[in-house]
Amino acid sequence: MKTENEIKQDVVILFAGDSGDGIQLTGTQFTNTAAMYGNDISTFPNFPAEIRAPQGTLPGVSGFQLHFGSVEIFTPGDIADVLVVMNAAALKANIKQLKPGGTIIANTDGFDPKNLKLAKYPEGVNPLKDGSLEQFRLIEVDVTKLTRNALSGSGLGTKETDRSKNMFVLGLVCWMYNRSLDPTIEFLKEQFRKRPELSETNEKVLRAGYAYGDTTETPMTRYEVKAAQLEPGNYRGIMGNQATAMGLIAAAKKSGLTLFYGTYPITPASDILHELSKHKNFGVKTFQAEDEIAAVTASIGASFGGNLGVTASSGPGIALKGEAIGLAVMLELPLVICNIQRGGPSTGLPTKTEQADLLQVMYGRNGECPVPVVAAKSPGDCFETVFEAARIAVEHMTPVFFLSDGYIANGAEPWKYPVAADLPAINVRFAKNELKEGEKFLPYKRDERLVRAWAIPGTKGLEHRVGGIEKEAETGNVSYDPDNHELMVKTRAAKVANIADSISLQALDNGPQKGKLLVLGWGSTYGAIKTAVREVIAEGGDVAHAHLRYINPFPKNLGELLNSYEKVLIPEMNNGQLIRLIRDQYLVDAKPFNKIKGIPFTSGELKTKIYELLK
């Protein structure tokens, strides 16, 4: 039975299943297919916390949310239009995410008594049968059986056969949205280059899924989501951690420095290490250290030697690195510290997202210890922002924090990738021996920006010692002199403050230059705020949006900007952190809006809040 193609502006699909069901792969492949077709997209993978939670259980559910459209897309979507579930647990865990009237595609085999029991449905209850899903459009498909049918006679065992179930689902979804199978077939060929028989069987199942859409008697609507009117240019898909890795490589290349990346595995930062270690032909040196402290101190050693020292972690690891970051502040050496935030405190919510380390990176060290902070707002923005972090570190001789979080680290979007030649230069000025006869080298002598020289080992005549003990201005010798200490504390603070001269002024993302309400955001809340503000403006509301990349120091015009609005709203995925910095520096009575649930804001929540303040 057939129905007409229905035109849609945007669609949110949530794929959910057991972590062994290949959900992430299905999601990623459909994302690539949609992106290459020209849709704008935003994705959000939701991993279970346990690596191998028992099969079929609620903690074992893995999800992948994908928002694609013919319009600009900034978030993975508040609520799903389509929910694809491979088993009962996946349905139970995600049904709240489906909008009324939405479509459920359910693998009926995943709703056998065993799976229902594992998902903790009461004895005898099957949600597919009891009418509880009445408000949705339910499409039942026995994916397991159909997959086995497609591969009967292939010689593969049941276990191997069942592993390609996700391809059936992908094929069916491609049919639903009129998408070509070619990108996936290409992918399979590449993926199974060494085992072409697997590429063939997976392709077979993929095609069977597509054909099922054509032939099934179940009424199903096909949709069309036209290509989006994105800014002209060349695009690719990108994930946040991948963009971070590429930004670091680009910064190394543009500065002519060797990238040394010292790190210790931690969720959700490890993918940066995985990505960087693939690019050794760029001269990248990755060092998986014995712990977080060794990771940062080895990077400091590399920086001392004249390299681009970078370390990364998430909150718990950043806590361990604190003392060493203080050392880097005293040594006044370049160092990039990436904090890919996750839910805290302590181990917290390792696989969930949060923005609760801002005050940690601002203040989490002993003594007066200023460190510049920049934050990325989207997966693609990680590239430029971490590049900026490296530029500031090298040009201002200071450690710099780069903030990202689990949401953008694992999220993906289309990215208008830059051309290498267009990237800004990063100026490295190693000190040369220009001493006159009898003159002593002064390692802590500063230029007009208060930046000291980077004199690296191997430079004859500039031999000098640095260390964590307070140093005398200019000579860098150990000094316990009270006046000198105060001078040095003030100087280090002024050096960081001076960075404001080399960064761009704060621009508005959207809305009027002055007015009733400014929504001020930072980090991964960008997409949700952008969507909410855009909609309120379209509905006639007097609201503007500014999104901070530079948090320490703030852009020079920020105070003026804040004062151009009657009210300022600061939404954050924490208990109120940027708001403290803003109130402290500008004495602005900004209003907080906080969500601390390990999941991003929805634009709907933000809209409601914005309207509340506009009243």
Partner: protein, 341 residues
């Protein structure tokens, strides 16, 4: 590294303008002097030498050396040095550390440095006490030691540092002392020559908080009887008049009188013998014990094993051969792109 005019340099050229601030009589002075004396003999340009330390009395060392140097944070000199050596393999990197710095707070980094075998030199000043913090027991203090933090005696069983180093796959393991400048200089030169992590434990007297703990090994009256100076290819002989030796009875070392044993039957020292080194590092008896073994000094063990920094370079060279020189535009583009007109 040998093609410069370093021959003209002297110990004075390695002496910085900073006033040395150790307590008068501290063993550190002698060690500093020997290091400064040896440096010009190594044939390494001064600007290619880097001293890195952690925290503790010994860790002030870099300030006194007219080379590049970093006084880092407690326990981490080994990790700082790893990052430096990984990226600047041509530098001669020296780590100065103490028993607290290397074996307590920095224990983790030390063992990982050793297994990776970076080509650096570690000078471990062992004085069996925390000096800088004014006299608490350290991980090498003997059981029962009364210190400021252990008025009723320490409960901790001490580390045997060289056994630990061997256990962590150290490739150059040696011991010397502050009071034997000639020996110390010899060992320092050998440490420099070894390609890989050279660890030299140096018995160092803290005359303020732990005076005389090594006296039995360092003082003329007992030194000959209580120490065993190792020489490659030579039998293990010691004693007031060289009248005693060590013979291996199966895996058990026994002290024998040379009067009743032929030199040929003695244990012949072989720096390359891992099995023997395993026994030698266990010559760690309390000299007060009857029938104790003498304490060895010298080079216990040396092994050739690839260094981390070289393996790292090799991987990069290999990657360039395989994938070609880096092309940033190709990286930014990736595999799947599309164009919006």
């Amino acid at each position: 590294m040998s093609t410069t005019d370093t021959t003209k340099l002297t110990a004075k050229d390695f002496t910085s303008d900073q006033e040395v601030r150790w307590c008068p009589g501290c063993g550190d002075y002698s060690i500093l002097k020997q290091v400064q004396t040896v440096m010009p003999e190594l044939g390494i340009p001064r600007e290619n030498i880097v001293f890195i330390s952690g925290i503790g009395c010994s860790s002030r060392f870099p300030y006194y050396m007219e080379t590049y140097g970093m006084h880092s944070i407690h326990g981490r000199a080994t990790a700082v040095a790893s990052g430096l050596k990984a990226t600047r393999p041509e530098l001669s990197v020296w780590i100065v550390t103490g028993d607290g710095d290397a074996l307590s707070i920095g224990g983790n980094h030390l063992i990982h440095l050793l297994r990776r075998n970076f080509d650096v030199n570690v000078l471990l000043f062992n004085n069996q006490i925390y000096g800088l913090t004014k006299g608490q027991y350290s991980p090498t203090s003997p059981e029962g030691q009364v210190t400021k933090s252990t008025p009723a005696g320490s409960l901790d069983h001490p580390f045997n540092p060289l056994a630990l180093v061997l256990g962590a796959s150290g490739t150059f393991i040696a011991r010397s002392m502050d009071r034997d400048p000639v020996h110390l200089r010899e060992i320092l030169k050998r440490a420099d020559r070894h390609k890989g992590t050279s660890l030299v434990e140096i018995y160092q007297n803290c005359n303020v908080f732990n005076d005389g703990v090594f006296e039995v090994f360092t003082e003329k009256t007992s030194k000959k009887a209580e120490t065993l100076f190792l020489e490659h290819g030579k039998p293990l002989v010691f004693g007031e008049k060289g009248e005693k030796g060590i013979r291996l009875d199966g895996f058990t070392p026994r002290v024998v009188e040379l009067a009743d044993t032929s030199l040929n039957d003695l244990w012949i020292h072989d720096e390359r013998d891992l099995g023997k080194a395993t026994l030698l590092v266990r010559f760690f008896d309390d000299p007060a014990k009857v029938d104790h073994l003498p304490r060895p000094f010298g080079i216990f063990y040396e092994e050739d094993r690839a260094c981390y920094e070289d393996l790292m370079e090799a991987q990069i060279t290999e990657a360039i051969t395989q994938k070609g020189e880096s092309d940033l535009d190709a990286l930014l583009r990736g595999k799947n792109t599309w164009t919006i007109a």
